[in-house]
Symmetry: C2
């Protein structure tokens, strides 16, 4: 109970009231932006989803729903071998099948570069799933039938599917660069050599995480249609602009000739960030046949082709003083890159989550004959945090320090990577408020001290993410003559709420009801370029741009009112759709009246996200507390509760925010306990290619989730809206927190994800 | 031959070379806008139609083509009586028909005001065609079948269909205001009393023109679809924004809740300027049924309901000095207004086409139990010009003055209505160049002097139209990162070339190829508000707005380049997609490179048409010369040639311009000789409700047409682009010119349109 006592005495813990005081929003800042209070404007209010009706009623139109009377359906012939070369391909039998309109393959399309030195159709096949040919036919069944009639002669080559074995034993080389996709990514600050010398305690462990596959609800799909020289593409994408750019490059046509639509889409976790081969293939087939062409993937193809979170093997070593002060952290890690350049970086949190003067990381990406790795919700973070926060708990146990206190002890006041201050950081408040609300003090006890075969335990892990927004973003606002507004952005809504928060920001900016706003997303032709919907970039990039546009319109209105009324602009007040001159009762106009008097028609302005304030690092921060039950007889883990306490800047919409947290935490839990791509080493085939074999959680797996946001509305350095992205943060610490809770319950460390019953039992047995 | 001699001696006629000199474009003006020369930029060049491929290939998507799997088809029950009240309506038999989903009528929808004191469904029916009920069913046939099963009991009331008889004998009153729709529109300047006292010759005549029906190729049609609280409407319209406004008013929802689409449409001559009852009815049915609803009209309904150019009875009196100087012009006129407020003004040209100090016009609109009048391509102009230029030719004959000389004699140097100068006027050059090219001197001889039963004659008439552009217009330009651009405007392309000229203006403004531009029209949500496509407003309103947007972007680029290169902005040159600093070879960047360096992503700006320069009147001017053959045995007129010589400002696209002229002249010829709505006075029914009975010209009726444009690229007072609208001008003088040619051939005046063989023969007989 040593640590428990220390915990209670800790100077980091404050009395009731003091916590709230610490977490108070500082005064000052941007006075025109209202506080995140539901009753004080639309920010933070749980405004209902803009696209809620459409989705619930089934009228929302996904790419899957796009239909044309003369549309062709395409299907893809994929490599059955993990490594082979095509010696010959004969499509004559397939072409003879009634209803087949066109077949494309490496022999009859131009060489379009893809994946570095490879190309769109590469006769050198590098994994089971690699594209060989695509058939367009009058319906999907005919296209599928035709695939079977394509005769391909292969030279079958040796292959490798296990990164660890590749590094140990070597493997066939199928890229010029050898077995590594890149040079190892090495980072060092200070001197780990010196750091470990200073250390009074050293812990060393190796952690393994599995390959996880994105598996968004909506499968990848494109519909391509040509009208003369102009191409229209409907795509289930996280980046209409990246799809446009990819097509424009591949087909060598101007961006203005490629209109990409994605008004609604069914989820994306990174696999839909870039323009896909299938999209360009659909465009080629549409060009060749003169028909619109639809080319999608089934669940099996999704599990083979579109990407994954790479696995990782992380060898970690951490040194500390007796009081818990970190002196050194060192990582050597590698992961499987798959068959084409992707990236298998696995542990970025180590670099900056905690304060430590001496850090070294060495991460490698190993080519294997499998589908390629892609960014997956917080790439390199959930797996890294699992390892890092696990070893920190092991360190805490060794030092008999409360795990929370260890984190507070090593709290990073400034950015460890750049030595710059943060734009703001309220992680300490998150630790303290979260712990209080979770009942950490009451629930935590030293690891493995629970009795009974079903043991309870609690654990925590931290989160850091560059959530301040990114590349240029533009948002156009059009104020209509009746005082309603349209908002147009070249972004897309993955289901995360882009439509909704944009309507809120503009409602607030123009002081009009949120119901009087339409939002147009998912069209490259009309929407100014916005970043991909990934990397937690959307809200912090788009909300300042929308805010800027609304404010520009306010200025136009006030300038106009000043001219119309011939009074000084400063004397004019505007609130809730009404212009007045406070000292002059004769001057009074509604918004539509003033728009009419100004005489511009609709007032349209495009706003931009201002560049980042130099000299500061923008990050979001958080901690999650998990409570679990482990049945030591079956190895089964039951997560009872996750409490997430995060500093994510301003809350734009409490409901959307909770939705994001729920989604991220469930996906984190799933990563911790369930998801795993299973590969047969003998054949090089993926065995888990459907949602029966690849396990995803259902509602029965979902624990109680509590979301505690440390209000932070005045981080004007992060951006004009004080908004940090929340797409990634929720998933980052979940697996680590659960792993630590399992350790806390059982006193046994499970070092490999997912923590399936067999692995838990093995860990328990190894301790016996 | 008297007049012919005078003609040749006239001081108004110049020698070869002098004409060209007179017509020279003055030097100076806006140096950044290139001249209308095909080889010197894209202005004036016959750039091919932006939407040409789509239309020729059949892929263009009209409202007619909009389909949804669950869409319902609606049909309208219309009044069979010219005047009646609905005593009862029973839809039970119709509702029982399988496939019928909903029926709306005055008894079951809210009272939505329409046509002043009337409403959307008015149980007081005022013409054959008035809306009684609309049925939505699974297909059109079922809806049609259901119409027959609706039982309506009527109180049949007395009616009137002839405006002249209404004024003579009175008629049943069915609007509170009585038989006149408005107070007579009276205009007077100077004193006609004094003017006629000064006159040495007075001519007095009464002219009659027929009712003409718009009959665009594409019928009026709407498709309405609700998604929750938001309505999407596809509409074949000349004004997406007027449709939006009408729906928004009628249904009391914000404009942002109504998205109106019209990317492609098949012509409109004024009947599609406003939101129609059918559009709101489709929206109501869609709301009621939860399905998208399509409600269109067949050709019969088009000929009854959507509007017409009202007929006119014009009593004209003109006084002049012996030398042809006009001293007074007086008009008393009326026309049929139809059953609801429209407007039957018939002769506006009289007010300002020619110089005359004393003018009075008195125009009335008479209610009749017929479809209501609507603006029709140059409302009140072709019929007015026919009468005015006819009586002027009669005056010329009486004075033995060449008709052209009479016009030159009374040339209005300043605007007769406002006494303001014109922004520019090159009508004199048009008269002279046109006459020269037409061979007026050689062809004209005094009226009726041709021998033989088939007589040739020539005639001319003038045109004036307020073509300088109108209400506010905004155009958004988005410069993409690869240097291509998108142009977005809340306008629509009736087939007149809006897509094409916008691409040209922006290509010129950004100095990029026209092929690298996409234009998005026909969407209220994304396009800034633009005027209706009518009134010749589009090109002079939108081209300056697009030019402004492109220039704003140029400034952003030059400011950006100055910042990136750290050189004075003035030192930077930009041409054909390349930035350079002329004195510094190290500074050189392509447009995409510079966009990337500036780092805004897409550069988006919305431009506006600047307000008109005060103190000037903007008008377009023109003259048309006609040559005809009249077979005096059959009364048949054959038009051999029309030469149109116009001052319409800058030519944006020579091909589009000729297309507009061809269309306008053919429609003018058709108005002169063929089109006529025929009404049965006994029943109050329109007899000409199809394109067999309502005669439109075919290619065999089309004469040789020559278009001569007086170049006028530097009228910077009219707008920044020196562009005047050309939608209306071509139709205005055609009928007058043909009528005068007929008079010139036969020596007989046909005072009623259309000049069908029977009327020609009657006129010839009356002269015998």
């Amino acid at each position: 109970m040593m640590a428990k006592l220390k915990f209670i005495r800790s100077k980091y813990f404050l009395e009731e009231g003091e916590v709230e005081q610490l977490a108070q929003v500082p005064s000052g800042g941007n006075p025109t932006v209202k506080k995140s209070k539901a009753d004080d404007g639309v920010f933070g209010a749980p405004v209902k989803r803009y696209d809620g009706y459409d989705k619930v009623s089934g009228t929302a139109r996904y790419t899957f729903d796009v239909q044309f009377p003369d549309m062709l359906h395409a299907r893809t012939l994929r490599s059955p071998h993990p490594h082979a070369k095509i010696l010959s391909i004969d499509t004559s039998r397939a072409e003879a099948l009634p209803g087949v309109e066109a077949i494309i393959h490496h022999g009859n399309v131009p060489e379009i570069p893809w994946y570095g030195n490879s190309r769109l159709f590469d006769p050198h096949l590098r994994y089971v799933g690699d594209e060989i040919a695509v058939v367009a036919a009058v319906d999907e069944r005919t296209a599928d039938e035709a695939l079977k009639l394509i005769d391909v002669e292969y030279e079958v080559l040796p292959f490798a599917v296990d990164a660890e074995k590749v590094l140990e034993k070597g493997a066939p080389v199928f890229h010029e660069s050898g077995v590594l996709a890149y040079n190892p990514w090495i980072y060092e600050r200070g001197s780990v050599l010196e750091g470990f010398k200073e250390a009074e305690v050293i812990v060393e462990e190796t952690f393994r995480t599995q390959v996880a596959v994105h598996n968004p609800t909506e499968a990848h799909i494109s519909v391509a249609k040509w009208d003369g020289d102009r191409l229209t593409v409907w795509d289930s994408t996280q980046g209409i602009y990246s799809v446009q750019e990819r097509i424009s490059e591949a087909l060598r046509i101007p961006a203005s000739s490629v209109q990409v639509f994605c008004p609604t889409m069914g989820g994306g976790f990174g696999s839909k960030l870039e323009g896909g081969k299938y999209t360009v293939m659909a465009a080629l087939l549409a060009q060749r046949t003169g028909h619109p062409v639809r080319l999608g993937m089934d669940r099996k193809e999704m599990n083979l082709v579109v990407g994954n979170r790479p696995n990782s093997v992380q060898k970690l070593r951490v040194g500390a003083k007796r009081d818990g002060t970190l002196t050194a952290m060192e990582l050597t890690a590698f992961g499987t890159n798959g068959a084409y350049p992707g990236w298998a970086g696995c542990n970025f949190p180590l670099i900056g989550t905690y304060k430590c003067p001496n850090v070294k990381t060495d991460m490698s990406s190993v080519y294997t004959n499998l589908g390629r790795s892609r960014p997956f919700r917080a790439p390199g973070r959930p797996q890294g945090t699992f390892a890092m926060d696990s070893i920190l708990d092991d360190l805490a146990a060794k030092l008999e320090i409360d795990p929370l206190e260890l984190r507070l002890k090593n709290y990073a006041e400034i950015d460890q990577y750049s030595n710059q201050p943060y734009t703001s950081k309220k992680l300490r408040e998150a630790y303290l408020q979260g712990a209080k609300q979770f009942g950490w003090t009451e629930k935590w006890r030293p690891a493995g001290t629970d009795s009974g075969p079903v043991k309870r335990g609690v654990g925590l892990a931290s989160q850091i993410w560059s959530g301040g927004g990114g590349p240029p973003a533009g948002v156009t606002v059009k104020l209509n003559v009746d005082g309603s507004a349209d908002v147009i952005a070249g972004s897309q809504d993955l289901g995360t709420g882009t439509y909704t928060f944009l309507s809120q920001v503009v409602a607030e900016g123009l002081d009009i009801p949120v119901e009087n706003i339409r939002v147009i997303l998912g069209d490259t032709a009309t929407g100014p370029k916005c970043p991909v919907s990934g990397g937690s970039l959307t809200a912090p990039s788009l909300s300042p741009a929308a805010w800027d546009a609304a404010n520009q319109i306010r200025e136009v209105l006030l300038d106009g009112a000043a001219a119309v009324w011939e009074v000084d602009k400063k004397r004019i007040a505007y609130s809730k759709g009404l212009f007045t001159v406070p000292e002059d009762d004769t001057k009074r106009a509604t918004l539509p009246e003033m728009i009419d008097a100004i005489g511009m028609g609709t007032i349209v302005r495009t706003g931009y996200r201002a560049k980042n304030v130099e000299g500061y690092t923008a990050q979001s921060f958080g901690v999650q507390f998990a409570e679990v039950e482990v049945d030591t007889r079956t190895g089964k883990i039951r997560v009872l509760k996750i409490l997430a306490a995060h500093d994510i800047g301003r809350t734009l919409n409490r409901r959307l925010l909770e939705n994001q947290f729920h989604g991220g935490i469930i996906q984190g839990l799933s990563f911790a306990l369930m998801e795993e791509r299973i590969v047969d080493e003998e054949s090089g085939r993926v065995l888990s290619t459907n949602l029966h074999d690849y396990k995803l959680p259902t509602i029965k797996d979902v624990p109680e989730i509590e979301v505690l946001i440390v209000e932070n509305d005045n981080d004007t350095k992060v951006n004009s809206m004080s908004v940090k992205g929340i797409g990634e943060p929720p998933i980052i610490p979940t697996a680590g927190a659960i792993a630590n809770a399992v350790f806390n319950a059982t006193g046994v460390r499970v070092k490999e994800l997912p923590m399936t019953p067999d692995r838990v039992l093995m860990a328990l047995l190894s301790e016996v």
